[in-house]
């Protein structure tokens, strides 16, 4: 029993000590300054420094404690200040990126200093400071100490010639527009029957032209010409009782079904019927039928 009491007391003492320890109360839980190589810099170089600070919940970085952009001294410029704030499970993590630019022209390799500064954090009106130490690095000259001469004058780098304007975007755009215009033109030419060299699309073109020249006395030729065109389109002789198959193969011509049926009946009547009388209206109707077939062929119907 006595041992248990001692153990309980010891436990509370340890707990109390732990609560009083500095790490438990530390407002800044993590602090790291990441610096690049400390040597080999020349005039005009940029030097980047990253500061990572993790603080407990409730502590807020005072942005005015960060160094301001602009000239720090005559040879050092703070070019960029970027702060990235990330919420973590333990508090807040600040990533501060500072980009300095060096404008010092040493005569020999010389050690220089990026000045330190104090980061301030605020919690309930109380301020907590964290010192960012200065950082030392060496800078080297670019040119020799003895003055080089050129044409009796001090040597300096020549002018940078004016760059030429980039014409690539124009060329690409031109090619694109031209391709689109050509594709549209080809389609339209096909629709309007200008691509007469394509055998697939010139079945009704010639019959239409020739039918226009024939009169009612040459009605048999007109019928044969039209039969010939339909046979050519079908790839084999086309008969009236095969029209359903024909429309399945060439559905675009389905809309002319009545005209097809009339044409075959007219042809049967003329070639196999007793009356050889030709009606002038039939002549015109064949011509119109051929025109309609041509329009379907060209995708105009």
């Amino acid at each position: 029993m006595q041992l248990v009491k001692i153990l309980i007391k010891s436990f509370f003492i340890v707990l109390l000590l732990n609560a009083c320890s500095s790490s438990f109360h530390q407002p800044i839980t993590f602090f790291q300054v990441q610096s690049p190589r400390p040597f080999g810099y020349v005039i005009g170089d940029e030097i980047k420094r990253r500061i990572i600070v993790e603080v407990r919940d409730g502590l807020a970085l005072q942005y005015r404690s960060l160094p301001g952009k602009g000239e720090i001294n005559r040879w050092l410029n703070l070019k960029k200040v970027a702060v990235n704030k990330i919420k973590t499970s333990r508090g807040t993590r600040y990533q501060i990126d500072l980009t300095y630019q060096l404008f010092y022209a040493p005569l020999e390799v010389k050690m220089l200093e990026l000045p330190g500064f104090t980061l301030q954090f605020r919690q309930f009106g109380k301020m907590t400071d964290k010192q960012v130490p200065p950082w030392y690095f060496t800078a080297a000259p670019l040119r020799e100490l003895a003055i080089r001469k050129q044409d009796g004058k001090e040597y300096m780098r020549p002018d940078t010639p004016a760059p030429f304007l980039d014409n690539t975007a124009n060329q690409i755009r031109f090619a694109m527009f031209l391709c689109i215009a050509m594709l549209a033109a080809i389609y339209l030419a096909w629709v309007y029957g200008l691509l007469s060299f394509l055998p697939k699309y010139q079945v009704f073109k010639r019959p239409c032209r020739q039918l226009g020249k024939l009169s009612e006395r040459e009605f048999a030729s007109m019928l044969n010409m039209m039969h010939g065109a339909l046979n050519q389109l079908n790839g084999k002789p086309l008969f009236q009782h095969r029209l359903t198959d024909f429309f399945q193969r060439f559905p675009d011509y389905q809309q002319l079904e009545n005209e097809f049926r009339w044409f075959f009946e007219c042809s049967n009547r003329y070639f196999f019927g007793s009356a050889k009388q030709v009606d002038k209206a039939d002549v015109e109707r064949i011509k119109i039928f051929c025109q309609h077939c041509l329009q379907v062929e060209r995708g105009q119907r």
């Binding site: 020349v42 005039i43 005009g44 170089d45 940029e46 000239e71 720090i72 001294n73 005559r74 040879w75 410029n77 070019k79 630019q101 404008f103 010092y104 022209a105 010389k110 050690m111 220089l112 200093e113 000045p115 030392y136 000259p141 670019l142 040119r143 100490l145 003895a146 003055i147 004058k153 001090e154 040597y155 300096m156 780098r157 020549p158 002018d159 940078t160 010639p161 004016a162 760059p163 030429f164 304007l165 014409n167 124009n170 060329q171 755009r173 031109f174 527009f177 031209l178 689109i180 215009a181 549209a184 033109a185 389609y187 339209l188 629709v191 995708g299 105009q300 119907r301």
Partner: protein, 187 residues
């Protein structure tokens, strides 16, 4: 009706594409003409004043370099001052670097003639132009080199000590408190 609409659409597409092609061809032709003028100036042959009307920053830069090569520094500086904020960041850096060169070459000429005051003022302007060029492009090696030339011509007042570095003076006028020394190198 559907077919007619389809054909109409194709006609519209055709005319839009054709207009676009004509416009880009014209634009490409103009660009090629400007490049031809830049090339002419780079070869040391001047162009007609009317060709400078509505000139692009690149063409003005080429003309400024031509003027500088003909020792017409004032005209070159005036042209460059007009374009230092125009064009891409890279072009602005080049304009500022070339402006710095026109100041520096004059500063060197004055220094050779022992006209110290004029040389100091021009070297300070050159340094400013080079620093601006480097602020835009920190990898601009020619600007780094010539800035060092200008700094050597007009050394800074600052003496770097590791104990304490001088802060920037509040008054701008004090920036001119320079020692117009012209080191001639080691004997």
């Amino acid at each position: 009706m559907k077919k007619t609409m389809q054909h109409f659409t194709y006609w519209i597409v055709f005319f839009i594409a054709l207009t676009g092609a004509i416009y880009t061809a014209y634009s490409g032709y103009k660009t090629a003409q400007i490049n031809q003028l830049i090339s002419q100036l780079n070869q040391g042959r001047d162009i007609e004043p009317k060709q400078m009307k509505n000139a692009t920053p690149e063409l003005q830069l080429a003309r400024a370099i031509y003027l500088k090569n003909k020792k017409r520094y004032k005209e070159a500086q005036a042209t460059l001052s007009l374009i230092i904020n125009q064009g891409t960041q890279q072009l602005q850096a080049i304009s500022r670097y070339n402006l710095g060169n026109t100041y520096l070459i004059q500063a060197i000429e004055f220094a050779e003639a022992l006209q110290i005051n004029e040389a100091s003022a021009l070297a300070a302007l050159a340094k400013q132009a080079y620093r601006q060029a480097l602020a835009l492009d920190s990898h601009y090696w020619d600007a780094k080199y010539n800035l060092e030339v200008a700094v050597r011509l007009l050394p800074e007042m600052d003496r770097i000590t590791m104990e304490r570095d001088d802060p920037v003076p509040q008054e701008k006028a004090k920036l001119w408190a320079t020692v117009p020394g012209f080191p001639r190198g080691l004997p």
